[in-house]
Amino acid sequence: MKEIVIISGKGGTGKTSITASFAILAGSEAVIADCDVDAADMHLLMQPVIKKSVDFYSGVIALIDENKCTNCGICADICRFNAIPLVDNQHTVKDLDCEGCGYCAKVCPEKAITMYEQNVGDWFISQTKIENTLVHAKLGIGAENSGKLVAKVKKEANQIAEKEDKEYIIVDGSPGIGCPVVSSLSGANYAVLVTEPSMSGLHDLKRVYELVKKFNIKAGCIINKSDINLDMTNKVIQFLKEESITHISSLPYDESFTKAMTVGETIVEYDHSELKDLLVKSWEIVKLEVN
């Protein structure tokens, strides 16, 4: 069983469209994990039927028991996040501002403050339109993706893949370079880096590759919209050479991606031979590289 993670530092590079195409091409050989929880869009292309839904708790926030509270104000004084203002003469925690440090609970002389786990969203096990399994999640407002949620989604996907004897786990990785990405990459066998030839695209590619390199994960790169700026595409290719990253493919700027998405399809299902061929070849290369 091999775990393949698709990442891109920057948003809007087409990462999810490419991941979903791979998910379709892999068909019954793969379990899919959507760890891009901040913009979890994969379900729009995979049209999953939810089989199991579980509340997700993460992080703690403070809660004041008004019966015990004497409004002495110590909690409000020590709170560095101004999260405990006086509302109608009662100190009240503003959930969105509370960082969950627990300092207030420790200094409250009346022991009126407890820290409780927050329900920040749900995670799901679903069956997609081609009947493979998708593990995904949805977060509430102000809730942040975390290493914990990514690890949870990946763990479920792993268990299913093991039980059903699947060859691949395809992971739509989280954006950025923080804790969720570390968790997305941790345990992966291969990383597919998706980028676009713009200054910000190259900049973010370099940043995210630092992590991949540190984790000693073999990587390949897909340059999307490659014909939009040939100079920059050459710079990307140069970077790939220097770092010995496999250049999996260059995809042209093509509105078919969007047109396919509009009808809820991936590009490999949509009628477009050139792009489809490129993605089929890309997936074959990824399979060769990972095995």
Binding site: S58, G59, S146, G147, K148, L149, A151, K152, K155, C179, V182, S183, L185, S186, G187, A188, N189, K214, F215, N216, I217
Partner: protein
């Protein structure tokens, strides 16, 4: 010498866990006493952030000189392990604990 492994179980034949911070178990093998100690680290899945430092601290308490793992620790965990003077070997993520130990003895693992 004590050698630590990140693993999915507590035996020689258990699979290695390629992850460091969120590994399910930590196994420590003492080659002088030919003895295993293990630590159940599964509680770590409740931690939103900071899994790496927490696991490294636990590892430190167990006193190994060498750590064998899969991908290698993230930045924070690496700092702790460096301070603790623990040597790290990576690339054993898809082996069993036994295979990982043999690979280490035969110098087939990469230093971090």
């Amino acid at each position: 010498m004590k050698i630590a492994f990140t693993a999915k179980g507590t035996e020689w034949n258990s699979e290695m866990d390629p992850r460091f911070g969120r590994t399910e178990y930590i196994l420590v093998y003492d080659d002088e006493k030919d003895e295993f100690t293990s630590y159940d680290n599964r509680e770590i899945e409740n931690e939103a952030h900071g899994a790496g430092p927490k696991t490294s601290q636990q590892l430190f308490e167990m006193g190994p000189q060498v750590l064998i793992t899969g991908n290698g620790p993230g930045g924070n965990a690496a700092t702790v392990l460096e301070k603790a003077g623990i040597k790290i070997f990576i690339g054993a993520g898809t082996m069993t604990v036994k295979e990982a130990f043999e690979a280490y003895q035969n110098n087939n693992l990469k230093g971090f």
